[in-house]
């Protein structure tokens, strides 16, 4: 491979005085499922938020498909085919599945020169996803997302990621609050996406779960990358040990 799809070089990010990301360098390749693991506050989500354009790094470089990224905005990331599936964000409860599915890139049909929403297409495509991704039979494309269960919501988001021919799918704790069966379903989808040649970045706490799926595991701790290993080289137990060892430094209060 000529160059990695996403390359992060010496990335630093400060929120005011808080040093959220410390000199992080990591490469992600197309057709790879990478598990991004670490404790709460380790910087996983912060790193991802840089990749999907929400945060602008203070220092360092981000390269996407061989060109350096200069501007950071969610819209640019989406236009470049980077789709993020976050736990609680991404769907508007007050809108129908069809409207959510196409939010931000609604298809339009011109009537008298005025671009109106193409409801037929919006309903048709989202109905397809509802069927493919195993939502309840009585769910229609016109139903508000509010009615859906946690798993169904994730299915809509993942279906959306598949539909728009993305190159990168970032899943931020995609199986939180899901039933066992829904969790398996989401994990199968993640592997499917990878097999279609997409880069899948899978963020989780659960090293044992992601070790089964991933080609590579990146462990973050305290804003730093502490491990980057192929799953064939290290077992889940070994990796878990790394997470334990890299535990956050807690400054003890001295007696003085």
């Amino acid at each position: 491979m000529a160059h990695p799809l996403i390359s992060v070089k010496n990335l630093d990010l400060y929120f005011g005085a808080f040093h959220a990301l410390k000199d992080v360098s990591v490469d992600f390749n197309a057709g790879e499922l990478v598990g991004l693991v670490g404790d709460n506050g380790a910087g996983k989500t912060t790193l991802i938020r840089v990749l999907c354009g929400i945060h602008k790094p203070t220092k360092g470089e981000v390269w996407f498909d061989g060109t350096q990224v200069k501007e950071f905005h969610p819209k640019l990331a989406i236009d470049n085919g980077i789709e993020t599936i976050q736990q609680s964000v991404g769907l508007c409860d007050n809108l129908s599945i069809a409207r959510n599915f196409y939010l931000g890139r609604e298809p339009v049909r011109k009537i008298l020169g005025i671009p109106f929403l193409d409801f037929a297409k919006m309903r048709g495509e989202s109905r397809k996803v509802i069927r493919e991704f195993g939502l309840r039979d009585n769910v229609s494309a016109d139903d508000e997302v509010e009615r859906l269960s946690g798993g169904e919501r994730q299915s809509v988001k993942i279906g959306r990621a598949v539909e728009f021919m993305n190159r990168v799918v970032i899943m931020d704790e995609p199986t939180n609050h899901l039933s066992v069966r829904e969790r398996e379903h989401v994990n199968e989808l993640a592997v499917q996406l990878k097999e279609q040649g997409l880069l899948v970045i899978y963020i989780t706490h659960d090293i044992f779960q992601v070790h089964k799926l991933a080609d590579r595991i990146v462990i973050m701790e305290n804003g730093e990358k502490v491990e980057d290993a192929r799953t064939t080289d290290m077992t889940a137990d070994e990796l878990e040990e790394v997470i334990r060892q890299g535990g956050r430094k807690v400054e003890k209060r001295g007696a003085a």
């Binding site: 819209k75 989406i78 508007c92 409207r99 959510n100 931000g104 109106f116 509010e146």
Partner: protein, 318 residues
Amino acid sequence: MKHLVKGQGFGAVIGVALMLAVFSLIDFSGWWTAQTMSNVIHYTSILGILAMGQALVIMTKEIDLSVGSVYGLAGIAFIMLQPALGVPGAIIAALIIAAAIGLLQGFGVVKGGLPSMIVTLGGLFTVRGIIYVWTGGSVKAFPEEARNAVVTRLFGGEILGLEAAVFWMLAIGAVLNLMLWATRFGNHLLATGGSAESADSRGVLTGRVKITAFVLCSVLAGFAGILTLADQPQTHVTIGDLMELEAISAAVIGGCLLSGGRGSLTGAVLGAFIVTSFRYELIALGAPSSWFITFVGVVLIVAVIFNQKLARMAGHSV
């Protein structure tokens, strides 16, 4: 039917039916007269235009308290600028002034990250102050020839025996409904109010959506002011006082939830109809006019409780 019941405006439909039934029962001959009806429909149209603008802003999860002052300023600008610019020029200038106020307030809310309640409260006072300073406390008379100009009649006259304002309100309502429910901008507006964070993550420019909503709201308020003064050009510097509260009440009675993302423009007009009807029925019944604002308050609270129950019945978490 199913669509109607699920719509946010359904509560207002019930409200209107109930109100008409009660008014017919207690005061049939006073209520159903041509004069009362004509007044009610005329004022409903003007308040309805304000309420629809307000509804758009509320649906983005913001609020605009300045519409009463903007309504007044645009109307007075129309009269004050007419000698220099002519009638069409004065109308355009008044609308530009209104749009500029909306733009400024939108910027304050979005770029300044300030609560719209504060920004537009400031707008309410500032704009009212500008009216006092500009007019010096009294508004000049509108010359006779300007009153009879074709353009003035187009906004303030009668068409087919109905006030022109009615047709303007219906046309604006139709355009805004299409915009809200059948265009990309409408989808972005609803998404911004429903969950700005989710809309952002999908690449929706939520800041721009909100600013546009504030501009639309101010322009509609200004337009309503022009419609009012084109019809009755004698006015006073207090024109539009408390009108923001009537407009917000109308939008809320019409089913707009202050939690954003849900509302109805048709409902807002029906809400304006309810508010206006109470005003005229109280006058018809001989109650002191100061009772009106108390009644609006009571109706507002009852409507909010009712609409919330209705929304919960429909399965929304509000």
